[in-house]
Structures are given as C-alpha cells and as structure tokens.
C-alpha cells in the first residue's frame, strides 16, 4: 500500500486535542465555537497575528486554507481555516468576530502570505477591514464599486459604474531619475496566453519583467451568492461544474457533495462512491490533458501539434463521461447521497470502451513525452524557470500539482481520504524541480496514476453484485441542516485543494457558502515565479500554474 504517510518526527506535527490547543493559546481564546470539521477558537480581532503565529510555529498548522468572512445580525466574522500540510485532517478554525459598526480586524498577512488575497476578497465582498494589511483594495470587483455585495444591507439596485482606468506604472515614480525607463504593459485580459480573462499588470525593463501583478475579477459571477440562493438538495449541484469549467466538473461537484453530506450527515453507498471515484479521475485526466495542451500552446506557440493531440485524448475521456453523465462539461451527475444514474446500459460496452481508452493511454503519454518533455528546446525553455521553492509554495497556500511540483507532498485524496481512494492502490506524484518543467511532469504522471485508479474502479464495478448496486442513499427531499452548523470540507480537485465552507441557518438554503478555490491561491504565487524573468517565462509560468479563471474569480 502506497498511501502511508512519510514519517514526520517534527515536533510540530504532533496531533493535539482541541483542549491542548486551547491551553496552548491560553488567554487568547475568548470562547469556543466548534465547527463540524474542526475545533473553533474565538479570539479578539487585535490578536490575529499572535494567535496564528503560535498555531503556525508551535502547533504546526502551516496551511491557511481559506479565510471565510461573513456578516451576522450583530457582528462580522472572519474565519481562518488552518490545516497542516503534513496531515490535513488536523484542522483548526480561528474565528475572529469584528464590530458591526466598525468591522476592523487584524490582518494575517504577515503570518501567512496567502491571507493577502483572501482578506482582500473578504473586504471586497463582505466589507471587513483588515488592519496592517499591505494593500487592502478590492480584488474581484472594480475599484469604483459601491458597497459590499455579500453584506446584509447591500442595495443591489444601486447603479454602478465600472470604469476602464489607466493603470499606473508602479515603478515609475521610484525610478524617475534612473538611467533607463521601465515600460508598463498590460498582458490580458484579451491576450492569447492568459487562459481566459486574466489581466497581468506587468512592468518591463527590456525583455525582463520587473514587476507583475495579477488583476482578477473579470469573470466574477458571484457563484457564492448563487449557491446561497439555491436549495441544498437540488439547486446547488449544477453550479460547481461551472467554477472550474475545464471538464473538472465531477471533482468540483464532489467538493460540494462532500461538504453538504457531512453537514447533513448523509451516508453515501459504497457502490456510488466507486462510481464517483472513477468519474472524478476521468475528469482529472481531461483537466490535465487540457493543462498540457495549453501549456504547449504557451511554450510552442499556436498551431502546435501537441495541443491537438492532447485535445484529442481529452475528447476520448469526454466521450466516456458523456456516456456516464449525459454531458461533456456541465455534468450535474452527483447528487447528495450518491449519483443520479447507474452506469449506462449495456454495462459491458461502457467497460470495454473505458478499457480501450486506458489501453491506448500509455501510448499517448509516451507520445507527449516525445513531443514535449524530451524535446531539447522545451527543456531549455522550462527547466529552471518559474522557480517556486517549497516554503514559498506553502506560505502561499499553493496546492495540487503546483505544490507537488515543488516537492510538497500534499494530496487530499490520500491525506484526508474520501470516496474510495483509500481502498485503491495508487501513488501521489511529486517532483522536486520546483520549476515549470516539474509542474508539467507532475500533471503527466498524475494522468497515469488516474488511469490506474480508473482501472481498479472498473474492475470493482464489473464484479459488483447486481442486487447491491445502490447508487443513492435515502435523502429527504428538503434538507434543513441544524441552525448555525458550520463546516469546511475540501477535496483534491484537478488544480488542488477545492474546499467549501457552509454555514446553515436552519432553512433549506445555506446562509454562507464560501468556495476555497485552488486556482485563487495558486495564482497568487505568480509574482514569486515571474519577477526578474523574461516575458516568455512569465507566460510559461502562468501556463504551468494551470489556472481557470472561472474558478479564480467565481
């Protein structure tokens, strides 16, 4: 069995009970507010940095998954969901209430770099202000936006003007007297290599990039609010498909399914779990194929053959997924407590089609290695460019292939098992290169691991006794979880840790639905990789992050 954790003798990795943690934090804890997934400690808004430092340094909670903020009738609240990279099942929530009239809270940015963007988002959408934050601006909405859309008194009928501002060159002032000038260049939103509508504010000195700042929000659709206005049972499930729309639909659906099932205490039949696992891994292959294809576009230029070959393979997975779910991208296949359909009839045909795909996959992968990874020019271009050291990756909360490409051994499928993964035989792929090449290599090797998983699932499904093929647990038609139950649950999406935070208020719709998007955190690392590099390397680094703007902006 390859799923055992590597041994960690580090002091910080020792698991502590909630009471021990409370003792460690001492007076900092005002009261307890436990969540379904983790103990929750309520602290004063001016002790955020102190608390998080203790938890990070002394208790080993080195992964700030997400900051979810929300407004209550009587207060604002920011929740810092902490985990350990070594063992993500050890979680703790730090709850920071802020005053209703003057919602100010201390920023966690000095402790966790990743808090930068997460707090900006909380400020933007909810309206909590963070003291000591280096750059508290709106992030998803335009700078000129009036009000905070997810706050309670938001007037959605107020007319809004979104301007098209001229961006300032951030280095211009400081270097007025310098010998040579820098050039400010907007790369995106309408640019061939930004994978959607991303805007990179780039400052160039010759061909080199002095400063790059990703500007996001062009594809913001308020998915969180859409989920908050849908019922748990039916109406939320179609939307996760639309976050990471690069055919990673089932992986996203699983994130919601996992959070909601744990929230409402629904047991999923084993048979459905196997189907879920198989479908999800098919999606992972499709998503990684597209990542490979677009990365080839970024490095090779348009009209590269790699793109078309990878898309071809992706189409084959999509054919399988279409047979299974009825759709090629927006599956809506999972239901709370199971899946909507059993395998398509005749089952043998589906199995043989799947096996055909798996049989030709090694050949395709070999071809990609010939085309891409063993190409000398490609190696010259990608090795040792876009370096992301593991400590930096952790600090930014990077997950998924981006973290694994930097040698961070973190995969929720193994570390926080769900579905049928812990019953199967597969490996977590890591590469130590920390560069663009490693990230691509991780994806290509993960495709092979996914194929292994699918193969085992097919074997299992083939032999599953007919009378035990239960695809759906008995779930009430209307779900009303307990009032004020809170949960944060994550799955390993194609891009990394895709988490959902839900707070219920006793009705059939969530009171707060927060999405922890892996791309959002991963994209934040771009300046670390890109500053000082050449323009082509920035494009390559961006491609190697494999972001989907639908998920970044939500």
């Amino acid at each position: 069995m390859s799923l055992e954790r590597p041994d960690t003798t580090d002091d910080a990795a020792i698991e502590r009970t909630p009471d021990e943690l409370e003792a460690l934090l001492g007076d900092l804890v005002v009261k307890r507010d436990d969540h379904l997934n983790a103990p929750g400690f309520v602290i004063r808004p001016d002790t955020v940095q102190e608390t998080l430092s203790i938890l990070k340094e002394q208790a080993g909670y080195d992964h700030l998954s997400v900051v979810s903020a929300q407004e209550y009738e009587n207060r604002y609240e920011s929740i810092y969901h902490l985990k350990k990279f070594d063992d993500p099942t050890q979680e703790v929530s730090v709850v920071v209430p802020a005053d209703k009239d003057d919602p100010v809270s201390e920023s966690a940015e000095p402790v966790f770099r990743t808090a930068d963007w997460h707090e900006r988002e909380a400020y933007d959408l909810i309206g909590v202000e963070y003291d000591d934050h280096p750059d508290l601006r709106r992030i998803l909405l335009p700078e000129t936006w009036q009000g905070h859309p997810l706050s309670m008194d938001y007037d959605k009928d107020r007319p809004q003007i979104a301007t098209l501002p001229e961006h300032a060159n951030p280095l211009q002032e400081h270097h007025k007297d310098d010998e040579s000038d820098t050039m400010f260049l907007n790369i995106g939103p309408h640019h061939p290599a930004t994978h959607g509508v991303l805007h990179l504010k780039t400052t160039l000195d010759g061909e080199q990039v002095v400063d790059v700042e990703p500007d996001i929000g062009y594809l913001h659709r308020s998915e969180e609010q859409m989920a908050q206005s849908g019922t748990y049972r039916h109406q939320i499930m179609p939307y996760p498909d639309r976050w990471d729309y690069i055919s990673a639909g089932l992986l996203n659906e699983w994130a919601y399914a996992r959070a909601a099932e744990d929230l409402a205490d629904i047991e999923v039949p084993e048979y459905a779990q196997v189907i879920r696992t198989m479908g999800a891994e098919m999606c992972r292959i499709a998503a990684h194929m597209l990542a490979l294809a677009t990365f080839a576009l970024d490095v090779n230029g348009d009209f590269t053959a790699t793109f078309m070959y990878a898309i071809n393979d992706r189409e084959r997975v999509q054919d399988l997924l279409e047979d299974l779910t009825g759709q090629r991208l927006m599956f809506n296949y999972f239901r709370l407590g199971g899946v909507v359909w059993d395998l398509p009839e005749p089952r043998e045909e589906f199995f043989s089609k799947t096996r055909d795909f798996l049989d030709q996959l090694p050949e395709s992968v070999e071809e990609y290695h010939n085309l891409v990874t063993s190409n000398e020019i490609f190696q010259m271009r990608t090795i040792d460019t876009g370096i992301l050291p593991p400590e930096v990756a952790k600090d930014y909360g990077a997950t998924g292939p981006v973290a694994r490409g930097s040698g961070v051994d973190y995969d929720l499928r193994r570390d926080d098992p769900y579905g049928y993964y812990d019953e199967l035989d597969w490996d977590v792929v890591t590469e130590d290169g920390c560069d663009n090449f490693s990230r691509l290599l991780v994806r290509m090797r993960e495709v092979e691991e996914s194929a292994k998983i699918i193969e085992q699932c097919v074997d299992l499904l083939e032999d599953w006794p007919e009378e035990e093929r239960n695809i759906q647990a008995n779930v009430p038609r209307t779900l009303r979880p307990d009032d004020d139950a809170e949960i944060y649950r994550a799955v390993e999406g194609a891009k990394g840790e895709l988490g959902i935070y839900i707070r219920s208020d006793g009705t059939d719709k969530p009171a707060r639905f927060k999405i922890r998007s892996p791309c959002f955190s991963n994209l934040q690392t771009l300046p670390e990789m890109a500053n000082g590099e050449y323009i082509p390397d920035v494009i390559a680094a961006l491609g190697s992050l494999d972001i989907v703007l639908g998920e970044v902006d939500r």
Binding site: E207, G301, D302, F303, T304, A305, M308, N375, I377, D537
Partner: protein
C-alpha cells in the same frame, strides 16, 4: 570554370520580340520582372491561405479548408477579397509615413531577392532575371532589408507589443546574419564565384555513383554540416519556428504586426511568405543544386519549385513540432554556437578545398 551562363529571361524576350535599344531592354526587363513577381506571388497566394492550413492540419490530425471549391482551393481568392475589403484601422499616435512604408518594404525586399535567383528552365524560358557577378552577396543583402521593415513597423505602431516585436526582430537578425553568410561563404569557397549561375553549375557534377544512380555534387551532400548550419540560420533569418520570436503570438500577441489590418496586414503576411520562399530559394541554389534534377534541363523550373516547396513544408513541420526558444537563448545560440561553428566550418572547408583542388 563552368559553362557559359544561360540566356537570361529578359534577354530571351528581347531576342524573341526584337525589342530595340535600351528602351527595349527596359520593357523586356519589366515584362520579365512582372512574370517572375507574379509567379512568386502565386506561390504565396497558394501557400498563405491554403497550403499552410492543409499542411498544418495534416500534422495535427485535422481536416482543413475543403468547403470552397475543389479541395477548398477557392478559399484563396475568397481570402484575398475578404482581407483586402477589410476596414483599415489606423491607431492613434502612429508614426504615419513609416507606418505606411513598412508593409511595402517587406514584400518588396523579399521579391527583390528573386531577381538574382536562377529558377531554372521551363521549355525555352530560363526564369532568371539577372546574373550579376556579385549575385550571391546581393541576395543576402536584399533578404536582410526585411528586418528594417519589421523594426519600422514595430516602432511606428505606437504599440508596446509591436515595439517588443520590432526589437526582437533586430536582435534575432543580428545574431543570425553572420553565421548565415559565413556558412554561405564555405559554398563560395567550393564554387569560386559569387555568380548565382556559377554556383548552380558547380553543383552539376556527379559526386558518386551508387547502383547506377548519379548522386549530384549538391553542396548539401558535399558538406552536410554546412547545410544543417545554413538551414538553421535560415530559419532564424526568416523568423520561422522555433525562431518565430518577433511574432510570438502567445507572448507578445502578434509582435510587430499587431496594429496592422486590411491590406497592410495582407502585405506583411505576403511579405513573410515571400521571405520564406526566398529563404527556400537561397537554400536550393546554395545547397540543393538550384534547378537541377532528374530529367531534361527544360523542366528544371519544376524541380526548383519542388525544392522551395519542400523548404516551405519543412518550416510548417517545424512549426507544429518545435517549441519556441527564448530571446536570450536565441542570442546565445547565435553568438556562442552558430557563429563559432560557422567559422570552424569555413576554415575546415578552406582546408578541404585546398587539399582536393
């Protein structure tokens, strides 16, 4: 050495139609030039909207243009009309005369290169406009005017992507011009002349005979190392993958031609293709025996066309298979690799020529 130069195309016209005096020569030259110009344009016309798509599609497992006319061939006039009838958008702040002149220079300079290329015979006509004694040097001079056009376009567009593209074009040209010429010089060492017809005729002798087949003494066979060097430098010179960095669509959008639309864009597109064919023509003349090939001399033109299309095919092949190098890597390869190798090749060739001659 060599035989007497064949009758050139304008001379043929003068003789056939009995055009008198200098005026007659000018008229004949103009007619001949128009014919040659249109032949080259026809190539690019076929290559740009049609052959390029078909070839790329074959490499990427796709079906390409096949709707308009047989094999989609009518897409060529359709594209021409469509592109010419597009609105010309003149961006703010362009440097007007330069911005207008740049798209003229690129195709003109590339076409001009064809004036000294011996394209071989088709029946009685020898498609060769002029055969000056310095023809070989001249053709490189003409070909490198192109980068002037690119930097002009890049700078006049008032667009940052264009600026970057224009600057890249210059850097690339600087790095590969010298290896290109120095490698070409090794051919001159063999041929002992700069006259194009001389270089071609020097390649007509038989190198070896294998199983009854005469392998001609094309310099690609005589000196394959120089051929590879020249091919690489040539690809860089004409800005094709993996050296397409002045355009680099996924990095700097479209490089120097970002702001061009309508006929201006067509001219750049055209100019690039003429440039590819010129590159192919130079390669054919220097290393592939020009218009020579099996069969009578009177179908030499067909062989020549096959050769330059072969080169075109090769550029498209490289485009679908190879990643693009980075600008600093390009410079390093150019100066630290190609330049040194080309000088080594030159010295080596000089010694070999000295020994065998």
């Amino acid at each position: 050495m060599g035989t007497a130069p064949a009758q050139l195309f304008p001379e043929f016209l003068v003789e056939t139609f009995g055009l008198p005096g200098v005026l007659g020569e000018v008229v004949a030259a103009l007619i001949a030039a128009a014919v040659v110009g249109n032949i080259v344009l026809a190539f690019t016309g076929v290559a740009g909207p049609w052959a390029k798509r078909k070839i790329t599609a074959a490499f990427t497992d796709r079906i390409a243009v096949n709707r308009v006319g047989p094999f989609g061939l009518l897409i060529i006039p359709a594209s021409a009309v469509q592109l010419l009838a597009k609105e010309l958008i003149v961006p703010e702040g362009v440097d007007r005369p330069a911005w207008d002149i740049a798209p003229v220079i690129l195709p003109a300079s590339a076409l001009l290169g064809f004036s000294v290329i011996p394209m071989g015979r088709l029946g009685p006509i020898n498609f060769h406009l002029a055969d000056p004694e310095v023809g070989f040097a001249l053709v490189f001079a003409f070909a490198s005017i192109a980068s002037v056009s690119l930097v002009m376009a890049g700078y006049a567009s008032n667009n940052k992507y264009s600026l970057l593209g224009g600057l890249r074009a210059v850097a690339q040209n600087l790095a590969y011009e010298i290896p290109l010429i120095v490698t070409a010089m090794s051919v001159v060492l063999f041929a002992g002349t700069l006259q194009m017809s001389g270089i071609v005729s020097a390649q007509t002798t038989t190198l070896v005979t294998i199983a009854g087949f005469d392998i001609p003494a094309w310099y690609a066979f005589v000196n394959p190392f120089a051929f590879v060097l020249f091919l690489t430098a040539n690809m860089a010179e004409i800005g094709r993958n993996p050296f397409d960095i002045p355009e680099a669509p996924t990095e700097i959008v479209a490089g120097y031609q970002t702001e061009y639309s309508s006929a201006y864009f067509v001219l750049f597109y055209l100019g690039e293709f003429v440039h590819i064919f010129l590159g192919g023509a130079i390669l054919a003349v220097t290393f592939l025996g020009g218009a020579s090939g099996p069969g009578p001399e009177s179908i030499g033109f067909i062989w020549f066309v096959v050769k330059i299309w072969g080169f075109f095919l090769f550029t498209q092949w490289a485009r679908s298979a190879l990643p693009r190098v980075r600008i600093d890597q390009l410079i390093e390869i150019g100066w630290k690799g190609m330049l040194v190798l080309s000088f080594a090749n030159l010295v080596l060739t000089a010694v070999i020529v000295g020994v065998i001659a």
